[in-house]
Symmetry: D3
Subunit: 315 residues, 6 copies
Amino acid sequence: MKNQYVNLLQEGDYVNDYFVATRRDLRMAQSGSKFLGMVFKDKTGEIGGITWRNAVELAKVFEVGDVVNVRGRVNSYQNRLQIQVDQVLPLQESDYSIDDLIDAPDTSGDDLRSFRAILDSVQDPWLRKLLDAFWNDTDFVDAFGNAAAAKKWHHEYRGGLARHCYEMARLAEVMCELFPEIDRDLLLLGVFVHDLGKLEEMTHGLFVDYTDSGKLIGHLQIGADMVQEKMRGIENFPEKTRIQILHFILSHHGALEHGSPVVPKTLEAIVLHHIDNLDAQATAFSRIIGETRDKGQAWSDYLPLIERVIWTKDD
Amino acid sequence: MKNQYVNLLQEGDYVNDYFVATRRDLRMAQSGSKFLGMVFKDKTGEIGGITWRNAVELAKVFEVGDVVNVRGRVNSYQNRLQIQVDQVLPLQESDYSIDDLIDAPDTSGDDLRSFRAILDSVQDPWLRKLLDAFWNDTDFVDAFGNAAAAKKWHHEYRGGLARHCYEMARLAEVMCELFPEIDRDLLLLGVFVHDLGKLEEMTHGLFVDYTDSGKLIGHLQIGADMVQEKMRGIENFPEKTRIQILHFILSHHGALEHGSPVVPKTLEAIVLHHIDNLDAQATAFSRIIGETRDKGQAWSDYLPLIERVIWTKDD
Amino acid sequence: MKNQYVNLLQEGDYVNDYFVATRRDLRMAQSGSKFLGMVFKDKTGEIGGITWRNAVELAKVFEVGDVVNVRGRVNSYQNRLQIQVDQVLPLQESDYSIDDLIDAPDTSGDDLRSFRAILDSVQDPWLRKLLDAFWNDTDFVDAFGNAAAAKKWHHEYRGGLARHCYEMARLAEVMCELFPEIDRDLLLLGVFVHDLGKLEEMTHGLFVDYTDSGKLIGHLQIGADMVQEKMRGIENFPEKTRIQILHFILSHHGALEHGSPVVPKTLEAIVLHHIDNLDAQATAFSRIIGETRDKGQAWSDYLPLIERVIWTKDD
Amino acid sequence: MKNQYVNLLQEGDYVNDYFVATRRDLRMAQSGSKFLGMVFKDKTGEIGGITWRNAVELAKVFEVGDVVNVRGRVNSYQNRLQIQVDQVLPLQESDYSIDDLIDAPDTSGDDLRSFRAILDSVQDPWLRKLLDAFWNDTDFVDAFGNAAAAKKWHHEYRGGLARHCYEMARLAEVMCELFPEIDRDLLLLGVFVHDLGKLEEMTHGLFVDYTDSGKLIGHLQIGADMVQEKMRGIENFPEKTRIQILHFILSHHGALEHGSPVVPKTLEAIVLHHIDNLDAQATAFSRIIGETRDKGQAWSDYLPLIERVIWTKDD
Amino acid sequence: MKNQYVNLLQEGDYVNDYFVATRRDLRMAQSGSKFLGMVFKDKTGEIGGITWRNAVELAKVFEVGDVVNVRGRVNSYQNRLQIQVDQVLPLQESDYSIDDLIDAPDTSGDDLRSFRAILDSVQDPWLRKLLDAFWNDTDFVDAFGNAAAAKKWHHEYRGGLARHCYEMARLAEVMCELFPEIDRDLLLLGVFVHDLGKLEEMTHGLFVDYTDSGKLIGHLQIGADMVQEKMRGIENFPEKTRIQILHFILSHHGALEHGSPVVPKTLEAIVLHHIDNLDAQATAFSRIIGETRDKGQAWSDYLPLIERVIWTKDD
Amino acid sequence: MKNQYVNLLQEGDYVNDYFVATRRDLRMAQSGSKFLGMVFKDKTGEIGGITWRNAVELAKVFEVGDVVNVRGRVNSYQNRLQIQVDQVLPLQESDYSIDDLIDAPDTSGDDLRSFRAILDSVQDPWLRKLLDAFWNDTDFVDAFGNAAAAKKWHHEYRGGLARHCYEMARLAEVMCELFPEIDRDLLLLGVFVHDLGKLEEMTHGLFVDYTDSGKLIGHLQIGADMVQEKMRGIENFPEKTRIQILHFILSHHGALEHGSPVVPKTLEAIVLHHIDNLDAQATAFSRIIGETRDKGQAWSDYLPLIERVIWTKDD
């Protein structure tokens, strides 16, 4: 049981409690000597840590993502509190309670159920088999339900991917009503598969970060491989359907410069790209407006990623 | 009553019937002499016309957009039929039947009714007054119901604007269910006003083209002026609402390089931009797929505007 | 009467005097606690302020732009002096002397007179009426004379807009001599109206900043509305002239990606855009060279906005 | 045996001989009637064909890529000869001699041998197994040896891919001498796999064109799938090697906007990208200079793809 | 004395008169046979020519830029007249009258005098010497007075460079009044030298085209070399002045992507760039408006270079 | 003899030893008072220095690039050590040992010899004369051997230019084997001259920085001037060769936006550009991987210049 939470630490406190380590950077000062910069996190916030003594040795003791017991003194540096670290020790899973460390709203179960309910309406026999191959894989179901949809910009929390897919499925349904020529089953499959690669592109545990394969081959390729692995388990899976599903995954960023090696070339693919974008941007704006209100501001800080400030509409 | 339709003309025919004139370009050949290039249209297609004799005089006889009686011989030039024009005479409205000239599916009434039904749910009293100011203006209602949403890319037919708005309103409704923090009344107003300027940016009669003010100030400014004219008729219209509605119009293209002088900075404005884009692109893809199928091709011709070919999914 | 000026404050001083408050940001430290960051300004410079105690309450006491009495201790933080603020109290206009707070060279009167002298040569009766409508509006004349032309890059001081317009009018006159086909009256009108919207896009008092409408609809739309309001007061103002004047305002940034929703399409509009640009860039270079010399450098610091360093030509 | 070659056809000839059909476009004239545009090719050149009679029926008789017997009259259209087609009949392979139809220098055998000789020096056991899996697949060896490296720009002939790989391997060897830290075995593997997907992205027979999967998923994905299929046949193929090889394929275009979903992030990958580019550009310049000389020009025509003219250095 | 002018040629005429040859392209038809495409020009216009007989031989008989006697029949091809050429013979200067061939307004003498009058006010002794070195070089004076400032866009006629420099000098003078910190002598030198390289980048006789060195090293390098050659003739020419003058030439396009290897980094250089641009664009708009009026159009054709249509303001 | 090296300085030390001064910036704090920021360097690293007392006077005592004796106290500021400077005194060359100050691997002699050995194979008599003109100029040989090829990104050490040229020459040789149509002598000349301007664009002594002419005219112009100066010493140097050599220098950056005023238009020029790029990028990746390993990281920090992280391939 944890006693010292980040948001209650004060200058001068001596810390002796556990946190998730989310950074561990061994740096060389310009003067040539080395120091270790760290970041520690619990469910209430995060705080930096630093040590100049035994930096090289300490860096070997733990990995980013470990839950560690930290000892050190809290001081103030550049208007921020940080811990002058004396000791860092990795813990076993039995040594800590995960609820002390993350505090995400656990509504992902609902979103997952709602999304699956929509997918259950898919009729096409091959797409049905493909969906079943995923839902019968319990490791997959578990991973999918716990995944975030992104590291930062939107749906960046546990269960975020399921929420994102549910919202897209709802938009897909309206589009199918308005445009009867859309192949509904196929589009819903597109919603399901478009971000599957994120399950392996990032870690989704206490600490979300890109994996080596995430950085080297990216979530489009990873997702294409995941889907094809399931397809190989289905005898005579139609080639025409296979390339359309890969086309969804590869084209869903909408443009080469956004990382899609091919651009959308079917009606379903262009719709998938735009509902993905619509949902992501609305979610990001909504999050930023909430954070801006929490800071008591009517206008957000400048957001370099989208080159603008956002208005809460508060006076 | 018309006897000679464009799609039935053959090399050698002598034409003597009426069409809409949609181009009238007096050109100088490199050799220095002038000729008049024309395009004539009826509900079945369009055909070029040319004359080298009395080109300057003939150019004064009619305007682009006029319904004219054309006399001349059909010949073949560069694999296309064209009319060697002898005479062009503008007609009165009583001289022709408009149904011979345009052949749009007249479903715009339905779309308009469906769209108004959704707008009727707007509760905010100021937005209500603004809507009423428009709907009580019969000239406006008539113009709105007959307008196209664009010259070429999407909803380019009479009633296209009403259809486009209805589709966007449907998408807006789902977004409001998924994101309860969206101001539903305001977003629906945004859908209504975003393209109003197109009523004056283009002519919407027999021949759709940009007007002088369309080319010089554009539909964003025109639309902002139209909305503000109605606002001036409503005593004490709230300033905060006024600038949000102008913000919708000015920002709905989403980016400076697409012609918006400001980028979307509220949740409703970013949603408006993306549902506009989603609906426009889906409609354009759908139209192109239809045209490609009509030509018996599985893949469309190369589309320079979106730098790709589109697949019908036919084999 | 003020005693403590920013440029004379030293580490350890206890401040008890008045300043303009130009920032007031309530922030949350990563540790979760809140602090209030402020900036205070007088005619000699600006200094930051910070408080961690009662940050939320203090933030409610004053607004950005207020003249306030500040109490606190000067200390040094990151090589800059700042005030550890104990108290901030807003003052009445009678409590302070504005000359202590701003120190702009008051030559704007001359520039305004010179600019009006050139405008007085406009002959076209409609343009004459439009100009008179503005010059007979004393609130407008006052605001125009006191306005800056920009927040930072060029003519960023009180009276800067009048100076900028005068310089452009001089360039316009030479262009009219060299190109007799330019409509001189119209071009001079363009110079006058092109930046009118800045009067409401920014505050122009003790503290220059963007207004809500500035951020949401921008100075092009604001300027177009201002001009049209005057036009509505002139019976039968010609439509062709109206759209040309709006075209000046809307196109004067020269390109979509620079925030103009339409590009210059007349001779006068292209000339207006380029003389605006020429004058703005020359003024900015001149200011930077002066500032660089004041720092005793031959080369300016790197300027990210224009991606270069500038040479004073000193050795 | 063929008698009538494209380069000898003259206006007025009646054609009755065989060609490869490389286009077959059913078009609608603006007037509404349909015609069929075709292109026919043999080893000496290509010539257009057209028919207005029975266009729809004729379009069903043959496929693009078929060898067909063509009957029709040669006439002149827009300074080019074309065939007014009366009849088109597809032939069996026994009905024609392929040497009449394509005329590529058959040196691909040599290039393939030279390239394989370099690959034979690869020592790493896993990479060895992967190479063997390909070379033991005779269908693959056949396809690889006959493939072009591109449709137009460089190495666009049968055997072009083998030539391109050989040249890159030679450059890779020098780079390894200059930079001993490069993993030579890995880089050579990169050269081998980088364009494998082109085997299925395009047809490589009598008529080179993109396939459906080429257009929908592209040669990067196709290549990644081909390599992974072989890897699955090798027990315990190391994951770290797998993602490096996929990284080669996915990153070799060097930048997102050139179609790579990830950019090169290892020393070997950046070298692979640049030697690919160096070889492709040198080959394209060399081809263009040759073609320009053949036309008796010192300067090439303007080349839109690279926005320049090229100099042969002839006077 | 010439009898047959381009603007009076009619279909069926037999031509036997002289023209300037401005193109001579030996092409291979797709069918493999060669033809020679030509363009001939006199002061009234230009007309294409073509021959299929003895194309290779005929191509050797004359050079582009030669004045030639042409024999052939006028026919019509794609709505344009062209000459089916039988014979082309180059003439001696004594064989023709240059006034038959070009028809530029000969006001360049005035512009040159006006420009030199402004330059005469330069006081700085080194800049004086540099100017004198040029004005004492009669070959240079002759070439400068006859030069065009560009091939197409602006001041594209004989004497155009002098006109362009005069206009820029007038603008420079106003800028110096408005910004007394500008080094007037230096800026005027900048106006004089900025486009000097065009004298050798293009031919400036009967036919304006790029030279080999124009295409390979460009007018910036050529101009820098010309100026430095004169500087080498002046003992102890100051280094600091030398690099500022080179800086003018190299930076005057204003941006790397417009072909300047360095961007303007002094006040004089930024002013030079912008007055160059202002004058060039105003001149181009003015020319296009004139041409559009001549064609009887209110709006110009679409101009791909500047991506817009231009308005004459005529109704 | 030096006793106090940067990498051994500790908080609290009193420094009294010599260093190279690499920055000397007189700044005004926002509060209005001035301070002097400095950077000092020796072969082990660099350390900042600051003084608030007598800042203006101290700034006059030394120049950037001087070797100076520094007195002051080491303290810690923002996690970095810096010297609170009391005194700075410039030294004579006899007062210090250069080996204390820079520590580059002295292998440049070997690289230079290897590069010259390849150049010795050039046969063309004019190119031979040009090379000899350079190699017979001992000042040049000395400067060339000691030059860096860049300030930061690649070959940024003494002798780096010779290394870079040697590597490029090796790549050029393979390209000549693969493409016999390349003019080998000319391409090798291109390698030699392409970066010559860097000798004067930057200082290459204890402190590498851009010179005034480097910033104002750039290394392309400087290099072109250096080469032409040698050419002027060779009677009848062929014009065609001259412009090809200038074309190498001016086009070697490959694109306008990378600072080349002309793009490569010959086979040799395009090859030169690409081998330059290949060698530079491989060298930069190799250096970054080394530095990343030294910091004990598997992935480099984010590199803004190339917008990516780089993998060492270590686990």
